[in-house]
Assembly symmetry: C2
């Protein structure tokens, strides 16, 4: 096991009917900016619940944060925060609204010239506006972690930043408010959470026995409960399990003391940036080809996954690892998730050329060994 | 899954050589009281490491906190805190030092007449002195939770209190400093952590699929890594896994949204209070008889445990549940842990009479159904 620091101060409030508690979680003295996306919260009752909880409070709102939240949009919110002297941000939505709100929080306090440097140049975030969240889509884990991924329209870029200063103070998780989500978004959420676990698990063994089993616990639960929640949207238990899996998949816990990969995400982000496909869709496409490309390096962990998670009875590590990739792909297909570029009408040759050129210009090295460079990404994308 | 709030703000710093970081974790402006136990930290180098880390700082010390920390001793530390205007407590030791330091922290700010009321009358803790910890014994999870158990010599009582105000600000976990522990304490730690999981798992199913698997992850890791760390004290990976299991077993995570029992602990505390046997020893004695007494109510979860954790192939729930109890007992024996009162030369009849009388006078009801009363405890103890 490697050294680690684990610190996650977000207060999670979980269960049906918990949105009303937002009133107790935000001090009456705060001037609150509620941030949200395309307006689905106005149709599913969440907006009304939040507004009722904060009635009589000093509240502004900022809607229109896109999936893959755009820097250009978020900077408009930063202007409002500064002009109106907002003191607290309340993100109401899914991972994109959360990520966008984290960027608003960091950018509002940023002292440098261009807040985009937080993403593009890893400019340090030394403070941020406090934020809380009401989660409406289980997927990214953003409700209790330090990460955000922001896109910039003008340059077709999609980049991440990390800061302890943007840990949400609280996250309200009411599984019932996710009942109205379309199947596609639930499918995406399950695949996204699954891939988050794999980025922290499918590397090489370091003797972190508990973290391995905690990661496998999430994978097994997603495999068991995912199909249930797609079959019956209002099965509270199944939906609650998926919501909690998504949070636990990326709250820092299973990352403790283990190597991490994130190359599937790095390549996937480029597919989204260039072709606009959903984040989870991009991961489901990249993972099988990338894992096959890295099979030698990942085979011990993938073999363990095959045996423990899928019950594969195969003594040979290389063969068991191949079976793991096949079983994961099969699971994604069972949820209705495509895993090939052609299914999205994207030409692998074109994608490989475009994206590898960008990685080449950045001098990118990815993966737990830093061994995936632009050429490797090109080969991987050709096989997607 | 039941509703829950999960909030654990303790910063865990994990790995060999991390004690030096205490210097960065405590502000130079703090007046620190270092609390510890019988002095083993003076022999194993931990005291010197802590003092070196805090050299030049304003530091006092208070040693002599007992296993099953005594109210009478702790109140002496409260006097020092008040007289010397201490602003930060640093607990250096195992669960008893941690628990005792939490009591000092709460009692120092307590406004009522008698701080013992915090334990005896659940008097509310509304603030506490901040504390941090350097853990030297993996067992209780006290390094990142809200709980403390305090004993009072004058009345032979052993009682718990809970407060968010006594969450340690940080916990430094260096597995290497636990190498010098006697086998008995490591054995106790493994059993204690195992029993903490069972108190939160071996109840009845509520559809909390992920929490179940996270609990099973800890049990499986303790079963795999426990014997390794007893065979080879300086196997860093095995010891690191045991340390992390003990923390994860009682940091609130596996308690999210599930019923909890704690009757084995309640009865075990009385065995310790009356006969002075170690905490973990008392749990290993009470659990088998208590689980058999409650077999009907616990059988679904115990059967799941038998199948998933011990690989038992038995379709009948009642029989599988019995096998779970046998397998757990067998595991405890394999660690050298006695599971009967007679092995400690305690007469079951006497223990049953004494302890049930006390429960009767308190009107105690225990367990996840509140169905274990004084008479049930008497029957259980007679079967121990």
């Amino acid at each position: 096991m490697e050294h680690f620091v684990y610190h996650n101060p977000t207060r999670v409030v979980f269960g049906k009917g918990t949105i009303a508690q937002v009133r107790d979680l935000i001090s009456p003295s705060e001037k609150v900016l509620i941030t949200y996306g395309g307006g689905s919260i106005r149709n599913n009752g969440v907006y009304d619940q939040v507004m009722a909880a904060l009635s009589g409070r000093d509240v502004l709102e900022f809607g229109g944060i896109q999936p893959n939240p755009l820097y250009e949009t978020l900077m408009q919110a930063v202007e409002i925060v500064k002009r109106q002297k907002v003191t607290f941000l309340l993100a109401v939505g899914g991972g994109s609204v959360l990520d966008g709100t984290k960027f608003i929080a960091a950018a509002a306090h940023y002292q440098g010239e261009d807040p985009w440097d937080i993403c593009a140049k890893e400019a340090p975030v030394t403070s941020a506006l406090p934020l809380g969240s009401v989660l409406t889509l289980p997927a990214t884990g953003s409700e209790s972690n330090t990460a955000a991924v922001i896109s910039r329209q003008s340059t077709n870029e999609k980049l991440a930043f990390l800061s302890e200063h943007v840990y949400p103070k609280f996250a309200i998780l009411d599984p019932e408010v996710t009942y109205s989500l379309p199947d596609k978004q639930i499918r995406n959420g399950i695949v996204d959470a699954f891939m988050h676990v794999l980025e922290q698990y499918a590397t090489y063994p370091v003797g972190a026995a508990l973290q391995d089993r905690q990661a496998e616990a999430i994978l097994m639960t997603l495999i068991e409960e995912g199909p249930k929640t797609l079959r019956n949207k209002t099965d509270y238990q199944a939906r609650a399990n998926i919501v909690w899996c998504a949070t636990q998949a990326l709250n820092g816990l299973i990352a403790c003391g283990v190597p991490q990969d994130w190359s599937t995400h790095a390549i996937g982000h480029e597919l989204t940036a260039f072709y606009g496909i959903d984040h989870a869709e991009s991961l489901a496409i990249v993972m099988p080809a990338l894992f096959r490309h890295e099979l030698g390096k990942k085979q011990k962990k993938l073999a363990q996954l095959a045996r423990r998670v899928f019950g594969v009875n195969e003594a040979d590590d290389a063969r068991a690892a191949e079976l793991a990739i096949a079983k994961i792909t099969e699971f994604f297909h069972s949820l209705g998730m495509p895993t090939r570029l052609v299914e999205h009408k994207i030409d692998p040759g074109e994608a490989a050329a475009k994206i590898s050129a960008r990685f080449r210009s950045r001098g990118a090295v990815m993966g737990e060994h830093g061994s995936i460079d632009a050429s490797a990404a090109e080969k991987i994308l050709l096989a997607c």
